[in-house]
Symmetry: C2
């Protein structure tokens, strides 16, 4: 791969902030140490200072729109030459509206409350020692993500607002776009007197990702955002703590007592409204007691929306349009207008099916039976369990978080949509007047 | 190593619960799957059912006291034959009081509130969709620990109360003791009709630890408890999420404005009251402005308590008793009646020193200056930061948690003392009346 970073005029002086944070001869560990240093400053900024920085970053990005679009054009041309699919090129492509969206996203962050400094709980011990648990930034957050260059600004902004320095590892296909975006964000930070190393782009080959995963003590948390392959590689290879953001093999179980019109609405919404996202439905399970009545309607409605159903024999009996489900058909996300389908004998059987195939993202029951609903909620092990609502609501925006870095499917730290609070750790502050332990 | 498990009459029938959960031919993954199955039951138990189980486990352990002590005698004999140090043998040895302590610990857990089911937060969206974030168990918790057999009962009880199945990987030196304790706990569970696979001892060589660390999807979280070597090996090698419990290279900084009598009390308490634990002080930093006045008193008092001070030249100038500090002297825990010492020019220099050497456990400032205290609290990056109080207070018992599985020194999930709440994850429960996303 060529080194376009150089041609963009990266600053070369020792200690110079440069325009990306990545200088010739500068190793990843140098970048991480600079981020750690910057994080010390970020950790003690007031909300007002951070909000001013976000607006300065937004202004600088708006000013750099032409340069960003030109850099993006080069990325798109390169992708096209190498035969990248239209869908991927669409994710890669920026236009004035998408740049405006990035700028607006940074300004929106300035309107959100600051999680840092929140007192989560506190008490006074019998001996008068006071204990408070206070939210603090992680320090340095590494984000490893795929093609979309707008993630660069979003992630930088969320990290900044939560007081964290960001090491952004985008994909090589978006390198020029990411360089241009990061150069603008860093210029914005410098303009308000903050360390530009709070936002750095990490460049290089696979070995740099390995270095990020090994940087225990320099990087406080790694967040991979992208496909299952990327996420698994990071979760399995990292020595740095990871927040696993999620693949969503999401199920909808239509119980015997479901309001069938409601079930149909929820099914179509969860499958069709935006099929490419992790909270879209991927499997339909129907209680046998209503299969003869519900499935013909559901299959016709899905077909009417262009959805291909991959079903077991019990489903295929109801429509010639249903394709036979392969052996692994129930394990993977389609992220497309496809859905797997089966008929189950009971709520218990639905829970068993989900337990065998879930990725722990969002699981839905449509039912009018309180006992079924309570059992499903209690026994299904997922970040979100829904009763009579579309899984598309499992989203930081819909939850009112105002910003979202991803949806965690692990059980440690944050589970479900991650807003600003989930981008923090905590610290116990213990104050006394000389107390000692007897 | 001999296989003493066999001689204790481990059940052999397929599907038999056995007395330890570890049967001939049963692999670690079989144990983990059985734990996962048991965790489904545990996750939906009421507090009353869990408390009854804890009392049943306590009763069974009390009844098994003679067998446990006899098994422990064999472990101690074996350790003595292999030349184990007296200190380690003391940690390994059980006596009637220590068994009573384990029994009492289980009963104490029954008196604590149940964290599972706590609604952490909740709201209603504009469209009427209700969202609640509810505490749920992790599922299966793996605990890897060293010599002390009383950890076996403590960890099993904490996992049970927090709704988690426990896979306990004790040290081979305590194997017979652990087998006897786990057999009793499992008998207690069976007596109240609960799956005994909720508590299993994991036996075998180093390869079994490797299997635990690779069991992503079967084990939800791993908690290593022990020395730095064990903890590092698990943190670096595990694909399963880990909670790092802590080594504590804890500092005390005596500021220029400190009440010197208070500083002396806190210093002696933090160093001497229990030197072998992670929240004991390991380094003393004194502000240069008071070094001439404070250090002679401090060095005399430390010497009077049998503490060896390892100091820089600036410290050694004040007493012949001070040993020269080696180059790595400021990086490690002593866990003994030793302390490193240096003189620093300012609160900023103290913070820099701590930043370079801290393990992120508990850091203390003694000061009468609000600006110094605020800066220290804001800028020192540790699980706990103390002002004018002994670091020995950073402890689950002292914090009123009633139980403690360890003190986390990582920033993800739990940081600081971990009680029952820290042994849980959460789940979003989203309920509607058919709402879909526009």
């Amino acid at each position: 791969m060529a080194e376009p970073a150089r041609s963009l005029g990266t600053g070369l002086g020792a200690g110079s902030p440069g325009c990306t944070g990545s200088l010739p001869g500068v190793t990843f560990n140098d970048q991480a140490r600079a981020a750690k240093q910057a994080s010390v400053t970020l950790g003690t900024l007031t909300r007002a200072a951070k909000d001013a920085a976000l607006h300065a970053m937004a202004d600088a990005l708006a000013d750099a729109e032409a340069a960003v679009l030109e850099a993006n054009r080069r990325d798109v041309d390169r992708a096209r030459e190498s035969g990248t699919s239209d869908a991927l090129i669409d994710r890669l492509r920026l236009n004035p509206q998408r740049v405006d969206g990035m700028v607006g996203g940074l300004r929106d962050l300035a309107r959100l409350a600051d999680p840092v400094g929140d007192v989560m709980r506190g008490w006074t011990n019998a001996n008068g020692v006071q204990v408070r648990q206070v939210r603090v930034p992680f320090g340095v957050v590494g984000i490893i993500y795929e093609a979309r260059p707008n993630v660069t600004a979003d992630a930088a902004g969320i990290c900044l607002k939560s007081g964290n320095a960001a090491l952004l590892r985008g994909s090589s296909s978006a390198l020029e776009s990411n360089l241009a975006v990061v150069a603008a964000l860093r210029a914005g930070l410098q303009g308000v007197g903050l360390p530009s190393d709070a936002v750095q782009l990490v460049e290089g080959g696979r070995e740099v990702t390995e270095q990020m995963m090994a940087a225990r003590g320099l990087v406080d948390v790694l967040i991979p955002r992208g496909g299952a392959g990327l996420i698994n590689a990071v979760v399995e290879g990292s020595k740095v703590p990871v927040i696993e953001t999620g693949t969503g093999n999401c199920h909808i179980f239509v119980d015997a007592t479901a309001d069938q019109a409601m079930a149909l609405d929820i099914l179509l919404n969860a499958k069709v409204q935006r099929p490419s996202v992790c909270n879209a439905a991927e499997t339909l399970l129907v209680h046998r007691a209503i299969a003869d009545e519900f499935l013909p309607k559901a299959l016709a409605a899905l077909a009417g929306q262009g959805v291909t159903v991959h079903g077991t024999d019990a489903v295929r009996a109801h429509s010639e349009l249903v394709v036979a489900a392969g052996p692994d058909e129930f394990d993977d996300e389609y992220l497309s207008l496809d859905i797997a389908a089966d008929v189950v004998d009971s709520v218990g059987a639905a829970i068993e099916h989900i337990r065998a195939h879930t990725t722990g993202h969002s699981e839905t029951i449509v039912t009018n039976d309180r006992i079924s609903a309570d059992r499903f909620v209690a026994e299904v092990d997922a970040a979100a369990v829904l009763v009579n609502a579309s899984s598309r609501f499992v989203d930081g925006g819909e939850f009112g978080f105002g910003a979202e870095i991803g949806i965690s499917t692990q059980k440690l730290h944050a589970r479900g949509p991650m807003g600003l609070a989930e981008m923090t750790s905590s610290k116990y502050v213990v104050t006394g007047a000389g107390q000692i332990r007897p």
